[in-house]
Amino acid sequence: MRIASILKRHELYLIVIIALLSVLITSINHHFATLENLLDMLKLSSFTGVLAVGVLVVLLSGGIDLSFTAIATVAMYLMGSYILTFGGNLLVAILIVAVTGIVLGAINGVIVHKLEIPAIIVTLGTLSIFYGALMVIAQGRDIYNLPQWFRDFAKLNLVSWRNVGGSTYGISIFLVIWAVVLAVTWALLRYASVGRGVFAIGGSPLAASRAGYRIGRIQLFVYCYIGMLSGIASMIHVGLVDQIAPHSIVGKELVVIAAVVLGGASLSGGKGSVLGTFLGVFLFAVIGNGLTLTRVTSYWQDAVTGIVLLLSILIAAFRERRREKSLVRVNVEEGKAKA
């Protein structure tokens, strides 16, 4: 890719903002610029990060999914109940969350395609249905006593170091999962024909159907994919907080969507990238972490997050408008008028 087109990209702006923020935070608290803090930040973001990748794929296809938090909740609850009742192992756990996610996602996909109802309404509905049904069955009970093998898995590090205080830190298994999800999704979007189909239907559904893309199949894939990633993310969530509380995820959907939009994805479809999505999530993590390290009360976090989001969308809108203006610009002949 040519340098000029890289410079124009949204991702570059994010990197610059992250770099500036990092310098600012480090000047106040040196702890920020340590490997330990970085890895910690990334580990804590891996849950949102995996969800964000799913949201990216849906947004690219020109759709939206609000029900993914409910899907994640159902998936982790089923998984928790199963391993507590029947035992099982890691593979079974992964299978349960993934299959649950795919099945619930398929419901979304079929409704969106067959009934031709706007996805935002469909998934707003299924959000309540999935979550409500779970609350009826679970009666709002939390699950605490997870088996030891699961706890061991959650503490697994790929590489680990010991800090001055003597505690260990390292590259968490969750970070590895997130990285794999990012890599697989990137390859899928770039090289798989279904991935190109996602871009195509997001760019112009009419042109896509005229070109012979099967829109229904692609939509089904998209909603199953975010469902599956929601399931996987829910497992990360359980690992991070060491319990399963039915109310702990629902309500976070807008924050995740915000991170993806901050990463340059368009809510009207067809535009966005895996790298941008990662940077969007990371930027939110840096802001959150920075506010903690600079001892700003945590109440400020939501407000600051909102401000950053607004600013970034403003910049994007401003650049878009400038681009449009340059397209319609009249090439006015300067100088004195001829008689």
Binding site: R190, G203, S204, V328, V330, V332, E334
Partner: protein, 495 residues
């Protein structure tokens, strides 16, 4: 006689008992540019749908493409037979690169699970080389001009190995120069053995590009003619069965009252040093290529995008136009170029659309609408402008293009303007309706209204009494229509 590439014979099609096509025949030879013309509702689009396989004709139809009798008529079938349709909206993906847009059908055809990007580039580069275009395969299609997007669409058709490319109104968004370039590409393709089916409302283009012309009227075939058998007048007659009257607007009132005078109006990046006068009962044409600043000038006069500097004198008093409200107070009405986007609310009724500009006048002091008065106003304009509708309560989208345009006109006429600015009022409207719109404009002028008519077509400019030629943001010349000819105006615009 040259060999036939496509022959459609005995094509009939009924929609719920209404005959859309009645025993129509269309024969396209190899290496020819064939024009398909007819007014709206003449069956053109149905015929194209039959050709592209989107619509099944009735039993007796005989379709032969490239000497092969086509039986199971479907979209993929006709793509395989070498027919590619470029729709008016181009059906491109703005968010994808040029290369991918060109190779998309090829990729789907190959049913590849994994995209081979080198193959995509190669297919695209080959197609681009075929028409000798300068296109960056890595650029996003959304960043290209409409003319370049048009070329991308042609390349895509070529990548499908299309022998016949159907183009639906390809020139509607192109500048004159771009049209010439496009025609160059089309002639080049013809010389390489491809055939083009060209659909257009613009008589001048049809006569300049096509080898043969097939004319439809009311779902029936009028005939297929060689280019040399036709001229504009005959073509229009065959399409409409009406002899077009080319009377000029006679107006001799150089000393009638000046309604609007503009001196040295400028707006950065839009237009510069524009001066013009509009007198009572005058129709002034404003002609210039797309991007000449003509629409921007209209927007400035209507207060939508006010000018930076310059003087505006209305009825002898210096005025400022900074908002639309200012303009309306001065008695200016504006009919925008894109009637669907800016002119009407499609889903609302004809009546509501017409009365929207005069709502304030229709309010009682308690802010209730005077229903009776509103209905009277609406009826008045529906009758005056002869809007063809079963009821003024019907939504505007049920009307034909020409009638929609009349609704936009009515909406502004209801405000009782002294000056009416019309931006391309006949764009995308068929020949018959064009003539009536122009006639309405003429009648308005005769009653004393001053009209600024922005147009693309030199034939339309001839129905004015003065024409201003605009280029690169400036008015470069002013000509009187009684002292010039259509060709002369065209020449000046293209010079």
């Amino acid at each position: 006689m040259a060999e036939n590439l496509v022959s459609l014979r005995h094509i009939s099609k009924n929609y719920a008992g209404v005959k859309a096509l009645d025993n129509v025949e269309l024969i396209i030879r190899r290496a020819e540019i064939h024009a398909l013309v007819g007014e709206n509702g003449s069956g053109k689009s149905t015929l194209i749908k039959v050709l592209s396989g989107a619509v099944q004709p009735s039993e007796k139809a005989e379709i032969e493409i490239d000497n092969v009798r086509v039986r199971s008529n479907s979209c993929t079938e006709s793509i395989r037979c070498g027919v590619a349709v470029i729709y008016q909206d181009l059906s491109l993906f703005p968010n994808l690169t040029v290369a991918e847009n060109i190779a998309v059908n090829d990729q789907i055809e190959k049913r590849a699970v994994v995209v081979d990007w080198r193959d995509v580039q190669r297919v695209a580069a080959t197609a681009i080389a075929q028409i000798g275009a300068k296109l960056d395969v890595h650029a996003l299609v959304g960043d290209l001009s409409i003319a370049d997007q048009q070329l991308v669409a042609i390349c895509r058709a070529l990548a499908q190995e299309a022998k016949l490319i159907v183009m639906d109104e390809p020139t509607s968004a192109l500048t004159q120069r771009e049209v010439e370039l496009l025609f160059g590409v089309l002639r080049d393709l013809r010389s390489k053995g491809n055939s083009i089916l060209f659909i257009s409302h613009k008589m001048g283009e049809i006569l300049s590009i096509s080898d043969r012309v097939t004319i439809l009227r009311d779902g029936m075939l009028v005939g297929t003619y060689n280019r040399d058998e036709l001229d504009r007048r005959k073509l229009e007659f065959l399409m409409t069965q009406k002899q077009s009257v080319e009377s000029r607007y006679a107006w001799n009132g150089d000393n009638r009252r000046t309604l609007l005078e503009v001196r040295g109006l400028s707006k950065r990046g839009n237009f510069r040093d524009v001066s013009l006068t509009l007198r009572e009962g005058e129709i002034v044409g404003l002609i210039g290529p797309l991007g000449s600043g003509r629409t921007e000038l209209a927007l400035a006069l209507f207060g939508l995008k006010p000018a930076d500097s310059g003087e505006i004198v209305a009825a002898g008093i210096p005025r400022r136009i900074r908002t639309v409200k200012d303009a309306i107070q001065l008695g200016i009405g504006y009919v925008p170029e894109d009637r669907v986007q800016d002119g009407v609310i499609l889903s609302k009724s004809i009546g509501r659309n017409i009365s929207i500009t005069i709502l304030k006048k229709l309010l009682t002091f308690a802010f209730f609408l005077k229903e009776e008065e509103r209905r009277k106003q609406v009826e008045r304009w529906v009758t005056t402008l002869q809007i063809k509708c079963s009821s003024s309560e019907m939504p505007v989208q049920t009307l034909s293009g020409g009638n929609q345009q009349r609704v936009v006109l009515a909406k502004w006429l209801a405000t009782d303007p002294k000056i009416l600015i019309l931006d391309s009022p006949t764009a995308g409207i068929d020949v018959g309706a064009k003539a009536t719109i122009l006639e309405i404009i003429r009648q308005l002028a005769e009653k004393g209204m001053a009209i600024l008519l922005i147009t693309d077509e030199s034939s339309e400019a001839m129905s004015c009494n003065r024409v201003l030629i605009m280029k690169r943001g400036r008015i470069v010349e002013e000509v009187r229509c009684d002292a010039t000819t259509e060709d002369e105006i065209l020449e000046k615009v293209n010079a």
